[in-house]
Point group: C14
């Protein structure tokens, strides 16, 4: 029953690591874009509409990399083919 | 009963690590956005409304990555499918 | 009785690590926001009210990530389901 | 049955690591490009069209490196030739 | 009697590590806020009252994360539920 | 059958590592070039054609290093001479 | 007699580590505040009193985190409950 | 048959590592040169020819270090004298 | 006689590590304060007295963290309660 | 036959490591020189000849350190005295 | 005779490490102070006396942390109480 | 015959490491000097002779540290007294 | 004869490490002071004498930390009390 | 014959490490001084003599730390008292 413990252990570690590390880049990146947008609004208030529209499109694109990480973490916890295989094996023994 | 200890140990480590590391990015990111917003208000007081509105939308988006981490940490502590599997096994032995 | 020692040891490490690492980001982040607010007040004294209000809302939001970490550390020390399970097991042996 | 556990374990780790690390570069890179675009719009509002068009082409190109990582992570989880080989072997034993 | 040594050893390490690492962020953060406050006073002496009041509120908030760490370190040394459990066990043997 | 597991394990790790690490440089590099291009367009709108042409040639050249990495990752997964050798050996045993 | 050596060894390491690491943040932080204060005095000599008063209050607050570390180091060397427990045990054997 | 596995394993690791690490420097370097070229064109449009010519010569030279790495990676995968020696030995056994 | 060697070895390491690491922060911090003081004197020669007085008070405060480290290192070498305990034990055997 | 595997393994690692690490410095260095040259041409177009001549001499000198690394990597793969010695020994056994 | 080798080995390592690491901070710190002093003399030649006097007092204070390290290194080599104890023991055996 | 393998292995590693690490400093250093020289020529074209002469003398001096490393790498590969000793020993056995 | 090898090995490592690491700080520090001095001479040629005199005194002081390291390295190689003790012991066996 | 291999191995590693690491500081330091000198010549051509003289004296002093490292590396390879001792011992066996 060694494989069950091993695969389970690794899955938990990977799920946490993926979302923890994977949230650093997007968080800092969105902050940078947002900070610049706020600065640009202060500098050119008449373009506030164009700026916020471009900001939200950009943030959505940056957020997408965080979502990739969240998707992988969820797959690893709830739809993990390796875990399914080993518990089927362990159950059938 | 080795797997119970192993999975439990790993779950605790991952829960703490995920939220600890996952809070660095959002904390610094929100601070950056907030700092820039404060600077922009001082520079263009008439646009304070637009600026704070954009700031709060941006912070909500940045906070979302911290919430992903908190969600994963809570799943790992209170709704962990790997832990449930191994204690069911251990209980049924 | 190995699992009791293991889970206990890991819980202590994680509680300390979570709050220690998790306090770096918010501390630096709040400092950045506060520093900018002080600079903005000096630059635009008439907007001191708007600035301090925005500052305190932002700091509350940044502090929230430190509180997530503190919550996880407290759960790990005083309401740890893994520890409860293993001492129940060890007690019932 | 050692190889099954080993290959499975490694596949999970690699899938998470690849997307977690691979999302840092693109997230920061897109943020940089977006921040500069917002600054340029504020500086030269008349060129907003050229700027946003160049921005979106650039972000697509930067996003491509994140997509390479996502593709490799998905291959490793769902179409992994090494895993297929070892479970065929293990099944045929 | 292995668990007694293990839990004791880990508690000491964690107490020291938590306060040592946890004091870096607040120390640097308070310094940043204080430095900016001093610079703002020099720039706008008439606002010295508003500035020092905002500074002390901010420093209190930053100090709070150092206090979280100190609280956890003290709990680990003097009110550690894991240590209490293992010495009760060891005493009752 | 040790070599089969070893070579397989290493191939998966290397494929993920190569593309994950190899995408950081190009992503940041393309972002830098794009950011500067956007800034230059804002500064000199009349040269937008020369600038975007030079930008796309440069990005293609930078992208080439990401493609080297992707090629090596694909070779390691699907056309790996070391893996072919060991499974031929293992099959012929 | 293993626990005596272990707990003793760990206590010495932790005492040194805590004060060594814990003095970096306050030293750099106080230096930053002091440097800014000196700069502010040069810029606004008439406010020297307000500036030095604010400086000393701030340095006292920053120094407090160094003192937390010193307190923990002293507790670990001279009032260590874990050490007292194990030498009582060892003495009573 | 140990050497076959060892040399094969190491060759795969080295091929991936070499191209992954070796692409960071050239990618960032070419980006820096390209960014400066774009900035120079915006500043001095009349010298666009001299600038792009110097840029492409420089990028070719920088790219050469990436090509050294790619060459070594390809030699290690497809023309590796150490691998040839050990499989000849292993085949002749 | 294992504990004697262990405690002795650890004491030497800790003494050196504490003073080596603990001198980095104060050295850099005092240098920063001194550099700023020199710059301020050049800028405002008439305030040289106030500046040097504030400088020396600040340096004394920064030096205090180095002295904490030196005190701990000396305690560990010459007044180490753990060492005294183990050599008493070893002597009495 | 242990030495054959060991020396072979190490030679492959060193060849890849040498060229991978050794290409970072020259790539960044040449980029820096090239970027400055492009900036100088834009600033002083009349000196373009002197600048590009000095640039190419400097890049040749910087490239020389990359070539040292490539030479060592090639010696280690194709003209390695240690490998020749051990396979002669192994062949003569 | 194990303790003699162990304590001796550790003493040598610590002596070298202490002075090597402990010289980085003061060297950089003195350089910073000296560089600023030279800059201040160039800016305000009439204050050269005050500046060099303040510089030398500051450098003496910074040098003091290097001297702490040198003192500890010398104590560890030539007046090491732990070494004296173990060779007395070893001699008396 | 262990020493032959050990010394040979270490020699290869050291040769590659020395030249790889040793080329980073000179490459970046020469680049810095060259970049500044190009900038100076653009600023003061009349002093081009003095500048390039000083540049080449400086680069020769910086290159000398790379040459020290290359010399040590070549000594380790082709004139290694330790290797000569052990193969003489091994040959004479 | 284990201690002879151990102490000898450690002495060589420490000698090299001490001088290698210990030369980084002074080299960078002296360079900083020298660079500033050259800049100051260019700015204030009339003070060249005061500047070079202050520079050489400062460099001597910075060099002193490198000399501490060289002294320790030489003591460890040629006047090492621990080595003398163990070879006396080994010789007398 | 273990000590011969051990001491030899360590000597090679230390020789390479010392010169590789020890050349980073001086190379970067000399480059900094040289870059500043070139900049100063461009700014103040009339002082070119004073500047180059001060530059060469400074570079000689910085080079001295590289030479310390080279001396230690040469001593370790060709005049190593520890190696001489062990091969004398090994020869006399």
């Amino acid at each position: 029953m060694d494989n069950v413990g091993l695969i389970g252990m690794v899955s938990i570690i990977v799920a946490g690591f993926t979302i923890a590390v994977g949230s650093i880049g997007p968080a800092l990146g969105e902050a940078r874009a947002a900070a610049q947008a706020l600065s640009s609004i202060a500098q050119q208030p008449d373009e506030a509409n164009t700026i916020t529209r471009t900001l939200f499109v950009s943030m959505a694109m940056i957020e997408s990399t965080a979502i990739y990480c969240f998707v992988v973490a969820m797959i690893v916890i709830f739809a993990n083919p390796f875990w399914n295989y080993v518990i089927t094996k362990a159950g059938g023994q």
